[in-house]
Symmetry: D2
Subunit: 354 residues, 4 copies
């Protein structure tokens, strides 16, 4: 049997929560090793000094460096870009051309239509030539394309929860594709790690609010992917809220049943059948509702189903961990595929931390 | 000028959060005094011993007693029933007949139709004769009826937020009354103070979940009141969620604009005009969104408005404190009216505790 | 009877939690009105726009201005300085000379010895001439001096909890004044409202840590006041910790009993006698322990007592709200005294918000 | 190379947090498999139904059964007793005699002196004959004894943090063994999962309190082990507090330096040397302080050191995850040793979940 080679991974952007989560996951990966960690602000320090949780674990001794594409090409087989939209598109071309596989956490390569990108992100796109080959990295839907990709656009956290939640009922023709409302709630890590008054502990704890209405940037991404599934253009309402918790997203998705009398059991059968071979999607039995804690730190997407004969609606509750499934874990799954490894390498061993 | 008499108040049910909140409010009321506090389990103790926050304040020296209707009639001008549905209806008739004004925190007298009550609460109603005279105690809408009432059904917490949020746009004819979705989020005091695994700290903190779908008991109450405002029968979707915070409700209400091109500024003008003389309803300027912390411990209902021309929707965000506005504070406002006092006696002095 | 004049109050520094708390309290004060609110960053906005909780309440319409000593002298009877150490000492002299009473929230005038100030705060003192007349504003201990003061140094939050906790047992000669350890725990508002990674929600929630060891700046303030009570120089250990909650301080104070056999009942009698006429200090009966929630938003200091015959120790647990009693509420009490009003004007009406 | 056999594990007591944590860990263990899960209340259900986080993972399909010693002996190589003190001692003898290795989470076999047990736990001991052979399972200190043991008394969570914190300075002769104070703070999972008003979300969130003073049951356990390390009888003060967070313990341990001039660097060298081969004990460099989040879900004990020349004290801050290192993880490490596996099997792979 051929020996499995250790994949050398680079992480650009260590100061955010997604980068931190990736470092956590890589520390336990059997065949991938963090060899490069970049941050302008923290360059020169040991990674373990910056990440106290990583001390005495693999990766702790990497010295943080300033990103340099040439060095990255030499040192890495795969590079994870955990940097803001607008920055990733500047870094990507040189990496891809240098033969490094790239998983981009930002939105820079998620939207097929450059005009939609520029309208919602209010940035000129600097690498539009790469858009056609970038693969939207939802492993359950696009594993084959991801395997062959040089560049994967890692999905947004909210879109991941909503797309996975809608997939089976839409594919099964159970619900109308129009008039959908996704009322989503996210933990505070989703708001990023940049200092700001609005995300201080005492501005988030013991309070609740919506934000970003009605034009949150994840909207076109959700619409693009849901349209592809539905086979028609879909326009929907997406409302994010901030929950006083660290991790987790719950999306409450309101849809209309094509046949108002469809029972929850019928929907459940379709969903269960759709996902029966997917280790990470768990469809809950009728009467059970998902909770974010039961997926904490994992790749699971837990889906609850409620049919309401009074209103003819199917309500789908979809839950993920925003940092693992919604960012770093999904990125790692994509990297696994791109590097010829099992999709769940380094991701399968442990149960959620309840 | 005639001297203002001190109103003698009784509280039945001290072990829950709503009763606790009422004791807090009464301690600062200029003309109402707690003279009776009832609880079978805690009878014989000083109230200040059971409520450590109340020590050295008015009410602390009341000795907890077992409820006795005759004694209540002798000692009290007004009695607050902070007991579960099913219990209140047993206590109410003797009090009302004895000439005591009653404010009932439970749902026992909220629904006009006894059949609807029995269907949703799965209890036979034991005092249906009182239903016709019971007044639904939303002070902004029903102050005149409350003033003359012997029995006030204090509104539920979720219904309060949703009814106040929908009132102006519905009355102004701006939105369709059908197809409404109320996605509500509540702090954990809303789940009550009864011991149970599901509401332990570690089952609620750092997690998020929906519950009670699709038949939460507040649904018919919301539909009854919204139907009355809309002038037609309304059926809507109501989904409650549990937020890891103590107090507060935020309802995200999805409606369809009658004219999809209506701007948020137009809606704002209608809402502001509607509520301009109401000290407790604050309509936020377009672009601003409400947060539960800004109403903490108060009677305020803060309303945010979002018009989405992409989907033709008006999204209304309505925020209250579930214990004060959603229970004890509103009950006190009703009692004030019933006793001939200004509606805001004991409620007007202080700003929210941010 | 002479009419009570309305006192005109100015607040310098609105962007922090202490300033916010003062605005909350002033909105409910019967005889004091906020007439000036200063902030360089927010100048020109209505205060109610910056403080959404204040809308429709007294103070909301004050227009935020840049601090100007001359204007302050004209407009205000009393000025509250909710600005950082180092800034307050620059503002104070002109105000005091202009005849305005000043309550300073910072540490600039708390330490009698200018050298100690300069050693611990690492700032040259710019107004040492005012130090001799500044009164340390703990109303229970220094009310008479406060009444005559032009300048009150409002105590720090940690010192307030520790000094009140130690006062009675030290005065009663029950404990040794040396070897004391104060292990204090504070909610996150105590860390201020300045943006920073360390106080983001996800860096504070679901975690616990100590900070500032072993030289937190409140140490010399505590030692100065405890020395004065003990009648001898006291050196103690003070360790602050950050609790994932918004408000509240609990100090666990370890002392040695002079007579190891002293019972908790004996200590309790001394403490209760000491504080029996103080409306805001509540000594808990033996066997009961204080909790921060029972003092939330109030002036109460709740004190629990534990005698441990195994170790000869008296453990004192002292609890306050860090923003009300530990900052703005205490400042308001001091201002009340300075302006000839009852100490509890605007502070006495309401029970803690549990 | 001989094949590694899969160890069959039984878990008695699934309804508490420690049992839940063990199920999580076993799901990722390479050589140990959960084959039996016992609970009287939940017997007959699939474990995955009771633990939603476990679905689609190893262990989910185990059917919960009522504990039966004979069955356990047949099915299991090792049994974990996650049951209350008093219950474990009834179950243990039959298991041990049947040849099953037992790891007891309770205190039943921790105290060598049966009289001390009976005094502090107020229960007659029913299996005193097993006390002499029970090994106190702190792997860093007692690995060799654990390897040979039939019965391991798994240490308490508070004792683990305090003993590991004190070990190196005591062994190194740097501190006085008397007069020690351990001021500990624990997350709410430490209070157990039994329904009760005191541990409801709204009684723990946004508040802080001490409990169990001055006779918490972990006191004699701490004293027994610290005495053994110090080589003399030690009596200390131990004060636990409840932090509004799920997991984690931080103990702030106050000691007196034998030589008051000892620097923190000197202490650091001794501690680092002591723990340099221990993968799970991380001594932080001088100036750094530990946080509970950096050990979440892991076996790490992070230790911070503060020397205070003003008071001659060494303050030790010791941090663990109360459920993993303080209960289930440590139990698993002990079981690994008892079964001839590496101590970190199933525990080494993953970094803390920050």
């Amino acid at each position: 049997m051929a020996e499995i080679q250790t994949i050398r991974a680079g992480l650009v952007g260590i100061t955010g929560y997604a980068g931190m989560e990736l470092a956590r996951l890589l520390a336990g990966h059997p065949n991938m090793r963090l060899v490069m960690a970049c941050s302008r602000a923290e360059a020169g320090r040991r990674l373990g000094e910056y990440y106290p949780f990583l001390e005495k674990l693999p990766g702790a001794d990497v010295v943080i460096s300033v990103f340099d594409a040439e060095a990255a090409v030499k040192q890495c087989d795969v590079v994870f870009l955990a940097v803001p939209a607008g920055t990733a598109m500047k870094m990507t071309p040189a990496l891809v051309e240098g033969g490094v596989r790239v998983v981009d956490f930002s939105a820079d390569f998620r939207l097929h239509d450059v005009h939609v990108y520029e309208e919602w992100y209010r940035l000129p796109h600097e690498a539009p030539a790469l858009l056609p080959e970038a693969v939207y990295g939802l492993p359950e839907l696009n594993a084959n394309s991801v395997r062959r990709a040089r560049l994967v656009a890692n999905p947004g956290c909210y879109p991941t929860s909503i797309i996975l939640g809608l997939y089976a009922p839409l594919m099964g023709g159970l619900i109308e594709p129009d008039g959908i409302i996704a009322d989503s709630k996210s933990g505070a890590t989703g708001a990023g790690r940049k200092p700001g008054t609005a995300t201080l502990f005492s501005e988030v704890a013991d309070t609740f609010r919506a934000y970003g209405l009605p034009r949150h940037r994840h909207t076109p991404e959700i619409e693009q992917e849901v349209s592809a599934i539905a086979g028609q253009e879909v326009r929907l309402s997406f409302t994010p809220h901030l929950v006083p918790m660290n991790r987790g997203i719950l999306s409450t998705i309101y849809t209309r049943l094509k046949k108002p009398g469809t029972t929850v059991e019928e929907v459940y059968e379709v969903c269960r059948e759709t996902w029966k071979d997917s280790p990470w999607v768990r469809v809950l039995a009728p009467g059970r509702l998902p909770e974010t804690r039961f997926v904490r730190g994992s790749m699971f997407c837990d889906i609850g189903l409620v049919a309401d004969p009074r209103t003819g609606r199917l309500i789908i509750l979809s839950v993920i961990d925003n940092l693992c499934r919604g960012a770093a874990g999904q990125a790692l799954a994509n990297a696994n595929l791109m590097c010829g490894m099992p999709v769940d390498a380094g991701l399968s061993d442990s149960a959620p931390l309840v």
